[in-house]
Subunit: 283 residues, 2 copies
């Protein structure tokens, strides 16, 4: 289809491929260009100014060099620290991952109390707390720094991972109960975590219900972001009308470390990532 | 002491503080300047050219701006990929962490077969294999990507960490036995791993002895590097003659993320790191 729109997807690494996967499922006739700034990851340890500069450079590459007509920032740190800067840097609609997660939490929760698991950097930015508060929700965020390396080790169904998830969830729920919260919704606030959704849901199932006696709903911000992208970028419904996603055109770019991207990326994307093209965005 | 020598210590992050700790114990009268290039870590995912440029910039900062008269590269990736480039960039003696680890392994082993645990990037460089081979040793390297995040989570004595160490060591020893090796020496090839030495030694103690029936010796490359530094930089024995290390002058610099450095660094250094000074090395 010559008239397929081009959607740019940006991440500091390749975790955002889970967001791309969710987008492809919903808009199979769109053309996707993904850029992972792997040479300069992790963004989480960098200052707001540095993250804004890096993310703006990648956004400009996707729009100017690759013709993206809209952008999804599939990176929690860049969404938290640099969404405004990216919107200023490019003349196309830009969607981050945090706001859609908070909106999905509002739609899911009955109690109004929400738990968030994320990386240390995302928690320190308190971006989910702010977004949840904007939706009228109380939230409690917990940094879970072992989950990304467990996913990258491929231990998505491993007993060690189940134990680590159980420890984190017990701590998080204990802290929430101590604050008098009745949390019924858990937001996965990291693009790696969709690969842990089965183990997380299994651990939740095994945990004793808290005072609320309500089952915990899991919100996957990759799914929520893809749904928001359909609403925002695809008002005319053109893309969804198309064929299955197997033929969707996807080009992936990385600023370094193409080997790891190609080796691990397919598990995140749910299909082969193919040849990842190396780009140089500078120092 | 006005005439104390100044030793520069460089790492991409703050893990190299374990090497600094070992140096301070042996040369308490020296003056130490430590630079962590935290804004641009991890080096492990970057190309040789990029690592060489970054490491050379930090080395020049330590020598030109801070007056270092010798340098310890307390970073496995920079030692593996950029030792030559650093030696070319500064007019002072430069010591990496890999060669001393291999030399200590040669001194320790009876069978000549050595196991190495390291990060993915260090293993992919095969720098320990090359250094061990240079010492006439057979070696087998294993990437243990969960160990750094477990240390940074503070789980140095946690049951999960013990289980992960057991899994990694079992896999490593199984691979070694399949190759007909009789390994009696384990090199800790990452600056974070000295904090796991107690749990690693406990796991080794609990493991059934292999065919060699020899207890496994653990070589901590931070200790080995400090011993090599004394031999290389302190031929006249001036520094060791001094007072206890508590008064040793240490200045720490980081290119970003000073908060995490200050919060976690003390555990690596074995004493408070004090105020970490922010420097800008560019890009």
């Amino acid at each position: 289809m010559k008239d397929a729109r081009t959607i740019g997807v940006f991440d500091s690494g390749f975790g955002g491929l889970t967001v791309l996967r969710a987008l492809v499922e919903r808009m199979p006739q769109a053309r996707f260009v993904f850029a992972g700034d792997t040479a300069r990851l992790p963004y989480g340890s960098k200052s707001r100014r540095t993250v804004a500069r890096y993310a703006a450079e990648s956004a400009q590459f996707l729009v100017r060099a690759q013709g993206a007509e809209s952008l999804v920032i599939a990176c929690n740190t860049a969404s938290a620290l640099a969404l405004d800067a990216i919107q200023d840097a490019v003349p196309v609609p830009v969607l981050g991952v945090i706001e859609p997660g908070a909106q999905a939490a509002r739609a899911a929760t009955a109690t109004g109390d929400v738990l968030v698991m994320a990386t240390d950097a995302t928690v320190q930015s308190h971006a989910y707390r702010a977004a949840c508060s904007g939706q009228g929700l109380r939230s409690l965020e917990k940094a879970c720094p072992l989950l990304v390396p467990l996913v990258e080790e491929g231990w998505t169904e491993h007993a060690v991972t189940e134990e680590v998830v159980r420890i984190y969830l017990n701590e998080l729920r204990g802290e929430a109960e101590a604050k008098g919260m009745l949390a019924d919704t858990l937001v996965l606030g990291c693009t790696h975590y969709p690969l842990l959704r089965p183990v997380i849901e299994r651990v939740i199932e095994q945990m004793p219900r808290d005072r609320s006696a309500i089952a915990m709903r899991v919100i996957d911000s990759a799914e929520s972001t893809a749904e928001a992208a359909v609403r925002l970028f695809d008002a005319d419904g053109r893309a969804q009308a198309g064929a299955a996603g197997a033929e969707t055109e996807i080009r992936c770019f990385a600023t370094d470390s193409v080997e790891k991207f190609e080796r691990l990326g397919s598990r995140f994307l749910g299909r082969p990532v193919g040849k990842v093209e190396l780009i140089d965005l500078g120092g």
